[in-house]
């Protein structure tokens, strides 16, 4: 169960935060959610925020307001019942952030790593604005889109996109790096035809941008 939920109904958008979660923790999840659906919300839509019984202090209110406004949302303190401000059916379809890179910054907060403990199968897509650490394999047809580095303790056979919002210094590390495609920021490299990447030894492999080209090398060389 996610600690952050966006709910849309005829009264507008509701942002529900788990009452037992820390504010900092919530903030990152809110940001990830907004990022994943950033063009879904039309400009100036009102959003009602609830955090169980908890009250926000002034600083928290400011940070959250600022964050919401970056994605075209306006924090309404009270639930609007009579006059709906936004009609969910009429909203723009969700857009994937992968394809429209944009750098997201927030004062004083740095995104922590997202840790995933499973094999990613075809059809799964992970989007996270930060470092993604995967303990498991990535199968063909799965995708990881990360704002920063991607670290895979396993074999990578899917599509990996590090530094998706413009960080050209992001790196991808995996025990075995045999993806269908590697993307770092705006640079794309594809698997050789026939699908076989050259064998790079057993120490793991790393991919990064060097001189506008994507390089894949054995670790530690």
């Amino acid at each position: 169960m996610s600690i952050v939920r966006f709910k849309g109904n005829k009264n507008g958008i509701q942002l529900m935060l788990a009452s037992d979660a820390e504010f900092d923790e919530l903030l990152f999840d809110v940001r990830a959610k907004l990022l994943a659906s950033k063009d879904f919300f039309s400009g100036g839509a009102g959003v009602t925020v609830s955090w169980g019984e908890n009250k926000f202090n002034n600083k928290q209110t400011d940070v959250l307001k600022k964050l919401l406004s970056e994605y075209g949302l306006v924090w309404d303190k009270d639930l609007v019942v009579e006059s709906p401000q936004v009609n969910v059916e009429k909203l723009e379809p969700r857009k994937t952030p992968v394809l429209t890179p944009k750098k997201v910054e927030m004062d004083g907060y740095e995104a922590p790593a997202l840790v995933i403990n499973k094999n990613l199968r075809s059809g799964t897509r992970i989007i996270y604005d930060g470092i993604v650490v995967l303990f498991g394999d990535m199968n063909p047809g799965s995708e990881i889109v990360a704002g920063r580095d991607i670290v895979i303790y396993g074999t990578c056979r899917g599509l990996v996109h590090a530094g998706a919002f413009g960080a050209r210094d992001a790196r991808i590390v995996a025990n075995k790096l045999k993806p269908i495609q590697i993307r770092i920021a705006d640079v794309i490299a594809r698997a050789p035809d026939g699908g076989e990447w050259p064998e790079q030894g057993s120490n793991g492999e790393v991919a990064y941008i060097d001189n506008n080209t994507l390089v894949v090398k054995p670790m530690g060389k």
Partner: protein, 263 residues
């Protein structure tokens, strides 16, 4: 204005995707500007059969949602200059696109290409409705076995009720040997039941698996009977009248002897 053809079957696993890949490549081989569209959102495979899976950047859903222009999403084939693939999205589902959007995309493609081939997902739900929405003609693929013919019949009915009358029939994976023994429905049996125009018979061949392994549509190999069968279908779709292949080509000494005596 090009022609939009949807390849459909109802039942899964009868060879829609292999057919689409080979027919599309076949049109390109004949010098036609061709695009093949994978409408199987969430379970895409046409890219793999074409050997283009590592070249995909944008997909059908990106086009429908306006993340990219249609031209950006087209993946150019590695063998033919005049052949393109519009891939399906893998991390989305069938509801990510509407029949109206599909029709719009098919129409735009038909302005630029001579042939637009749409690979329809299995089933009769939303995915099927999307795939057939923009099509001028429909091709139904079936195998010579009961469940597949039954599903094909259902599809013919649905196509007719959606205003796509006179679909064309491809019988895939025929085993002449079994037909001769009386243990497989004959081409005539199937045509008799479905009562739509036959446009191709493709024999069962292990080579299809080898071709997919290589990412090289079987139509490219004209040493194989399957390759010839696909080429003939392409030419029939282009309006030529061509006799059906004799799939019963005898192999081995006794086969030839049998043929020589006309039995």
């Amino acid at each position: 204005m090009g022609e939009v053809i949807v390849i459909t079957s109802g039942k899964g696993g009868v060879g829609k995707t292999t057919c689409t890949a080979s027919l599309g490549t076949g049109f390109a081989l004949m010098g036609k500007r061709t695009v093949i569209v994978d409408a199987d959102i969430g379970l895409r495979n046409l890219d793999v059969v074409m050997g283009l899976e590592n070249r995909i950047v944008y997909d059908l859903v990106d086009v429908a949602e306006g993340h990219c222009r249609l031209k950006q999403a087209l993946v150019k084939d590695k063998r033919f200059e005049n052949l393109y693939l519009l891939p399906a999205a893998q991390t989305r589902d069938k509801t990510a696109i509407t029949p109206e959007q599909m029709t719009e995309i098919a129409q735009q493609l038909a302005e630029d290409f001579d042939y637009v081939l749409i690979d329809c997902p299995a089933g009769i739900e939303g995915g099927f409705k999307n795939a057939i929405a923009g099509a001028d003609r429909a091709v139904v693929v079936t195998n010579p076995e009961m469940s597949s013919v039954r599903d094909a019949d259902r599809i013919v009915g649905l196509l007719e009720s959606e205003g796509k009358a006179n679909p064309l029939l491809i019988i895939n994976r025929l085993r002449p040997h079994m037909v001769n023994k009386g243990d497989m429905m004959t081409v005539d049996d199937i045509c008799d039941i479905l009562a739509i125009k036959l446009i191709g018979i493709i024999p069962e061949d292990e080579y299809i698996i080898i071709a997919t392994n290589k990412g090289e549509p079987a139509v490219l190999n004209d040493d194989k009977l399957v390759g010839k069968a696909y080429r003939n279908i392409v030419r029939r779709l282009m309006g030529e009248e061509i006799e059906f292949l004799d799939l019963d080509a005898p192999t081995g000494f006794f086969g030839k002897l049998k043929r020589a005596f006309g039995v």
